[in-house]
C-alpha cells in the first residue's frame, strides 16, 4: 500500500495542495483531509448518494472517485452552496417543506437536486423523482423532498 499522489484541488473556492495516499477517495479527502464532513458515507456500493458533491459543475458520488482523479478539479460541497449567507434555493426548499428528518442523506440529496435544477430548471414531478433516484432517503418517503425541489424551481408545489 501507501503509494502517494499529489493533488491540487479547489474546494468551495479554496485551493488545496496535498500529498495523499493514492487510494484516497474524494469523500475521504474531503472529510479526513479537509474536515469537510458534510458529504456522508452511507454505503459501500455507490447506491445511497449521501456523498454527492459537484466536480467541475457536475453531480458526482464522491465515494466513487479517487482524490487523485480530481487533480486540478473544482469541487463544490454542501458547505459551499450557500452564498454570502443566503441559502441556496434548494436548501431553502428543504427547510420550508420539511424535506429532511435525520439529515444524513440531506447534503447529498441537496447537491443532486441542485444539479438536477441546473440541467432542467422546471422538472415535472416524474423528472424530479427520476433525477433523484440515485439518492436514498429512509426517513421522508421522498414526498417532501419532491415538494422542496418544486419550490426551489419556482413551480407550484404539490399538496
Amino acid at each position: 500500500m501507501s503509494k502517494t499522489a499529489h493533488v491540487e484541488i479547489t474546494v468551495n473556492g479554496e485551493h488545496h495542495s496535498r500529498d495523499v495516499e493514492a487510494r484516497t477517495l474524494l469523500v475521504g479527502f474531503l472529510r479526513e483531509h479537509l474536515g469537510l464532513t458534510g458529504a456522508h458515507v452511507g454505503c459501500d456500493t455507490t447506491n445511497c448518494g449521501a456523498c454527492t458533491v459537484h466536480v467541475d459543475g457536475e453531480s458526482v458520488k464522491s465515494c466513487t472517485l479517487l482524490a487523485a482523479q480530481c487533480d486540478g478539479a473544482d469541487v463544490l460541497t454542501v458547505e459551499g452552496l450557500a452564498q454570502h449567507g443566503e441559502l441556496h434555493p434548494v436548501q431553502q426548499g428543504f427547510w420550508d417543506y420539511h424535506g429532511l428528518q435525520c439529515g444524513y442523506c440531506t447534503p447529498g440529496m441537496i447537491m443532486a437536486a441542485a444539479d438536477l435544477l441546473k440541467r432542467n430548471p422546471s422538472p415535472s414531478e416524474e423528472e424530479i423523482r427520476h433525477g433523484l433516484e440515485g439518492n436514498l432517503c429512509r426517513c421522508t418517503g421522498y414526498h417532501n423532498i419532491v415538494r422542496a425541489v418544486q419550490s426551489a424551481s419556482g413551480q407550484a408545489v404539490s399538496a
Binding site: 454505503c43 459501500d44 445511497c48 420539511h98 439529515g103 442523506c105 436514498l136 429512509r138 421522498y142 417532501n144
Partner: protein
C-alpha cells in the same frame, strides 16, 4: 394552577406547522454525526468477522497483522476476556417462563454461530491500515452444519445452534382470552393461512458508529444510538464500571428505525479498547457490516385462524407464531413478536383470542426491533385475514370491517387479553378515507382498465397500534417481565435573561423533537419556540431517560415536557403574583404575558419574571426559592392506541410481475396535532418503509447461512421513483391517558402499510385466480402466483380451508421458499 387539562394559556404554538429548528445546520452540512468526530490520537478499529455460520475456532494467528506497519494492537475475544465484567444484555425475563439465553460477548470465544460474528479487532492510526491488517489475521475454523430455516430448526435431528441447550427452541409464551377453540369449532366459517413476515433490515442511511474517549476521568462514548441512558446503564454492567464514570452522547443520529435501539458489542468493545490503550478509539460500520450485524427485524411465520359467522362477525382469532431469533439475543430479541399482542384484536370487537409464540435459534444474526416491532406483523396478519375472510364470505372488505369495528362509544374498550384501548373512532377514519376514495368510481375504472389489459387493484388497511411505551408496572419485571421501566423525564430551565432550555430523556434521530417539544414548552412558559432550546442525547446533561422508540417520545416524553413546563409556569405565577401584589390564582398566562385576571394592564413577561427569579428584588418573599427550573418524571397509566385507515392502489404488470404503487391515501388519528407538518412527514416515511417491506426489501441467507443481501445492491430500499405523492388526512380523537391528548405516529405508517399493499395486489390479480400472497411481492413472486393461477404453486404459501375441517393442507409443499430465504 396546573389544572391538568393540558391547556397552554400562552400563545398557541401547539398545532402550528412551524419549520424545524433542527434544520439550518443539517442543510448546510454542519451536522455532527459520530463518524464526523475526530479526536487527537484517535485509533480506528477494524473487526475481523466470521465467514462461517457455525464453527468452532481452532486457532487465531494475529502475528502477521500485529507486525503490519502502523498497527497498534490486535486482540481476540480471549485476549479481552478480563476486560468485560459480563456479557451483553437481554432484558426480558417473563414471570414463569424460562428462556434459553446464550452468553453473548462482544467478540467470539471459541466458537462462531453466525456469519459476521466478530472474532478479532485490529487497531491502527487510520482506518485503511486497520482494514488492511485485519485481512492478515488467520483464523482456522472447524465448520459445523448450520440451520437457517426456523421450522427445520424445530425438527428432531436438526443441527443445534447451541449444543448446550439440547434444542433450538428458545422459549414458548402464550396468552389467551375467551375460548378461541370453542368459537372455532362452532363457527360458520373458518379461514386459515400461513402468513410470513420476512426478515428485513432497519437500514438507516447513517451506518452505526461509536467513538470512545478515555482521556481524563472516566470514559465518554459517542454513539449513533436511540438509547444513550440505557446504553450507559447496560455498559456499566458489561464493563464493570461505575455508571457515573461513563458518559454516553448521541449527537446527530442519522436515522434509527429500531436498528439503533440496541446496546451492541461494538459499543462495549470500543469502550474496553479505549480504556485498555488510553487513546480514543473509533469504529464505523460499513454498509455490508450493517446488513450483516446490525440487528434484523420481523422473520416470523404465523399460522393464523379466523372464525366467523355467515353474517360476517368475526368470533375468534387463533395464532401460532414462530419467531426466527437468530443465534444470539440483543436487548429485546425474544420479546419482539410478543410485543404485538396488545393489538391482536385489531380494530375489531372479537371476543376470543388465543396466541402462542415459539422462539427459535438459527445460525443467523439476531432479530430485534425494526420500525413497529411486533405490531406490523400482527397488523399484517389481521388485515390480510380480513380481506381473506371477506373473499370467503363474498363481502366487500370495507363492509366486513364495518360489521366488526369496535364502536366509537365503546371506549375504553377492554380486549379479551385484558388490554384497554384508550380511545378511538375506527369507523370515522374509514368513512373519511372513503370520502377521498370513491369506491364505486374506482371499481368502474378498474373494470375499464382490465378491458385494456391493465391490472389495477385497491387494498385497505384499518389499523390500530399500541405505543407510548409504557406504563412501567404493566411492562416491568412484575408485569410482562421487561427488566426496565418506561417513564420519561424532562427538565425545563429558564435562564436569567428569560430564554429556556428543555432537557428530555428521549433521544431523537430525525423525528423533530427540538421543534415539537419547544412548541409544547413555549406555550406553557409564555415564550417563542425560537427561545426554547431542546437538548437530548447526553447522559451528563439531563436526568435519566429511556430514549426514543415505540412511538413513545411525544406521548411520554412530550407529556413530561408539558408537565415540567407547567410546574415552571406555577412558580412563575407565584413570583409574578408577589411582585404585582395579587393572589397566584389570579394570575393568568395570556398572549405570552402573565397578567392579573381582569387587569391586563398589570402584567409581567417571562423575561421579567426570570430576572426576578435569578436576581430577587427585596419585594419577593424569601419563602420563594430563587431559580426557575423544574423536573418531571412522568409514568403513563396506560399505553396509547393510534389508529387509521389507509388505501393503496397498485398497477401490476402481468408480463413482468412488477408492482407499481400509483396512489396512497392515509387517514390517521394520533390525537391533537402538536405540529401537523411533522405528523405528515412521519406518515410519508412510515408508509414508504412498509412499501419497501411489502415489495422490495428482504434479508436473505442461503442454506449454508451465508448472507446473500449484504449491500444496497441486493437489499433494495425504495427510491423516489418507486413511491407516489401521499394523500394524507387526519381525524383527532384525544387520548384520555395524557394531558396533551396525544398518541405516537412514528411507526403508524409502517404498521398500516404492508397489508394495504398485499391486499391491493391480490385484488388486482383476482381475475387471474390469485387469492392469497405472502411478501415480498417481488416480480418473481408475483409471476409465480400469476403462472400458478390457483394451482399448487399459488397455494403453497397458505393452506386454504374453505369451511371448517375442509382442509387443503396437502395441496402443496409444506414450506414456502421464504423461510429459508431465497428470492
Amino acid at each position: 394552577m396546573s389544572d391538568g387539562d393540558g391547556s397552554s394559556n400562552g400563545n398557541d404554538w401547539v398545532g402550528q406547522a412551524i419549520r424545524r429548528k433542527e434544520d439550518p445546520p443539517l442543510i448546510k452540512g454542519q451536522g455532527n454525526y459520530v463518524d464526523d468526530i475526530y479526536l487527537p490520537g484517535m485509533l480506528h478499529a477494524a473487526i475481523v468477522r466470521s465467514p462461517e455460520a457455525n464453527a468452532t475456532i481452532s486457532s487465531i494467528d494475529t502475528a502477521e497483522a500485529a507486525a503490519h506497519p502502523g498497527v497498534v494492537a490486535v486482540f481476540t475475544g480471549d485476549d479481552l476476556a478480563d476486560d468485560f465484567a459480563g456479557p451483553l444484555a437481554m432484558v426480558w425475563d417473563p414471570p414463569g417462563v424460562d428462556i434459553n439465553t446464550p452468553e453473548h460477548w462482544p467478540l467470539a470465544r471459541g466458537e462462531v454461530k453466525h456469519v459476521g460474528q466478530g472474532v478479532a479487532v485490529v487497531l491502527a492510526g487510520d482506518r485503511g491500515t486497520a482494514v488492511d491488517a485485519s485481512e492478515l489475521v488467520v483464523v482456522d475454523y472447524e465448520t459445523l452444519p448450520a440451520v437457517v430455516d426456523p421450522e427445520q430448526a424445530l425438527e428432531d435431528g436438526s443441527p443445534l445452534v447451541h449444543e448446550g441447550f439440547g434444542t433450538n427452541r428458545t422459549h414458548d409464551w402464550a396468552i389467551a382470552g375467551g375460548d378461541a377453540e370453542a368459537a372455532i369449532s362452532e363457527a360458520d366459517v373458518v379461514v386459515e393461512r400461513r402468513i410470513v413476515n420476512h426478515r428485513t433490515s432497519g437500514a438507516p442511511i447513517e451506518p452505526r458508529a461509536s467513538v470512545a474517549d478515555s482521556r481524563g476521568d472516566g470514559v465518554t462514548l459517542y454513539s449513533s444510538t436511540q438509547i444513550p441512558h440505557i446504553a450507559r446503564f447496560v455498559l456499566s454492567g458489561v464493563l464493570g464500571m461505575s455508571e457515573d464514570k461513563i458518559r454516553v452522547v448521541a449527537p446527530d443520529v442519522g436515522g434509527g428505525f429500531g436498528a439503533k435501539l440496541q446496546v451492541y458489542g461494538e459499543e462495549a468493545l470500543v469502550l474496553a479498547l479505549a480504556r485498555k490503550l488510553g487513546r480514543p478509539v473509533k469504529w464505523t460500520e460499513t454498509r455490508s457490516e450493517h446488513m450483516t450485524t446490525s440487528h434484523h427485524g420481523r422473520d416470523q411465520i404465523a399460522n393464523v385462524t379466523f372464525a366467523a359467522t355467515n353474517a360476517g362477525k368475526v368470533t375468534a382469532i387463533k395464532v401460532h407464531v414462530i419467531s426466527d431469533l437468530g443465534a444470539y439475543f440483543g436487548l429485546l430479541t425474544p420479546f419482539i413478536a410478543e410485543l404485538g399482542f396488545p393489538v391482536t384484536n385489531g380494530c375489531y370487537d372479537i371476543p376470543n383470542v388465543k396466541l402462542d409464540f415459539t422462539g427459535v435459534f438459527t445460525n443467523k444474526f439476531e432479530t430485534d426491533a425494526v420500525r413497529g416491532a411486533g405490531r406490523p406483523e400482527v397488523t399484517h396478519w389481521i388485515e390480510v385475514m380480513m380481506d381473506q375472510l371477506a373473499a370467503e364470505l363474498g363481502l366487500d372488505p370495507a363492509e366486513l370491517r364495518r360489521r366488526n369495528f369496535i364502536a366509537a362509544d365503546a371506549f375504553p374498550y377492554e380486549t379479551p387479553l385484558g388490554i384497554f384501548y384508550d380511545s378511538g373512532n375506527y369507523q370515522g377514519t374509514l368513512d373519511k378515507l372513503l370520502e377521498h376514495v370513491d369506491m364505486d368510481a374506482f371499481r368502474s375504472e378498474q373494470a375499464e382498465l382490465r378491458e385494456q389489459g391493465t391490472y389495477r387493484g385497491i387494498g385497505l388497511s384499518t389499523y390500530v397500534e399500541v405505543c407510548g411505551l409504557a406504563p412501567s408496572r404493566a411492562v416491568g419485571p412484575q408485569g410482562v417481565g421487561l427488566q426496565a421501566a418506561f417513564w420519561e423525564s424532562a427538565m425545563v430551565r429558564v435562564h436569567p435573561s428569560g430564554s429556556a432550555t428543555v432537557y428530555t430523556g428521549t433521544s431523537p434521530h430525525g423525528q423533530g423533537h427540538d421543534t415539537g417539544f419547544a412548541q409544547i414548552a413555549a406555550d406553557r412558559l409564555g415564550l417563542d419556540p425560537e427561545n426554547v432550546d431542546v437538548l437530548h442525547g447526553d447522559t451528563d446533561q439531563g436526568p435519566f431517560g429511556w430514549g426514543t422508540y415505540g412511538s413513545r417520545s411525544l406521548a411520554v416524553g412530550g407529556e413530561s415536557v408539558g408537565r415540567a413546563a407547567e410546574k415552571v409556569q406555577d412558580k412563575a405565577k407565584k413570583i409574578c403574583a408577589a411582585l404585582l401584589e395579587a393572589a397566584p390564582e389570579d394570575i393568568e398566562l395570556a398572549g405570552g404575558k402573565y397578567q392579573v385576571r381582569g387587569s391586563p394592564d398589570k402584567s409581567m413577561t417571562m423575561v421579567e419574571i426570570a430576572g426576578a427569579a435569578h436576581i430577587p428584588p427585596n419585594e419577593l418573599p424569601t419563602d420563594i426559592e430563587p431559580g426557575l427550573e423544574e423536573t418531571s418524571f412522568y409514568d403513563p397509566e396506560n399505553f396509547v392506541f393510534p389508529f387509521g385507515a389507509h388505501a393503496c392502489v397498485v398497477d401490476v404488470d402481468v408480463e413482468t410481475g412488477k408492482v407499481e404503487v400509483v396512489r396512497w391515501v392515509a387517514v390517521d388519528d394520533c390525537g391533537p396535532a402538536i405540529n401537523p407538518m411533522l405528523i405528515d412527514g412521519q406518515v410519508h416515511g412510515g408508509v414508504t418503509h412498509g412499501i419497501g417491506q411489502a415489495l422490495y426489501e428482504q434479508i436473505v441467507y442461503d442454506e449454508d447461512g451465508q448472507l446473500v443481501t449484504g449491500s444496497f445492491v441486493d437489499y433494495a430500499l425504495p427510491t423516489a421513483a418507486e413511491v407516489p405523492m401521499f394523500e394524507t388526512d387526519r381525524t383527532e380523537t384525544p387520548s384520555p391517558v395524557n394531558r396533551l391528548g396525544v398518541k405516537g405516529v412514528g411507526e403508524a405508517g409502517t404498521i398500516a402499510a404492508t397489508p394495504a399493499v398485499v391486499n391491493a395486489v391480490t385484488d388486482a390479480l383476482k381475475p387471474l385466480g390469485v387469492t392469497f400472497m405472502n411478501m415480498p411481492l417481488t416480480p418473481m413472486r408475483v409471476l409465480e402466483h400469476i403462472q400458478g393461477n390457483g394451482g399448487p404453486r399459488a397455494t403453497e404459501q397458505g393452506r386454504e380451508i374453505g369451511t371448517h375441517g375442509q382442509g387443503a393442507a396437502g395441496s402443496g409443499p409444506a414450506r414456502p421458499d421464504e423461510g429459508g430465504g431465497s428470492l
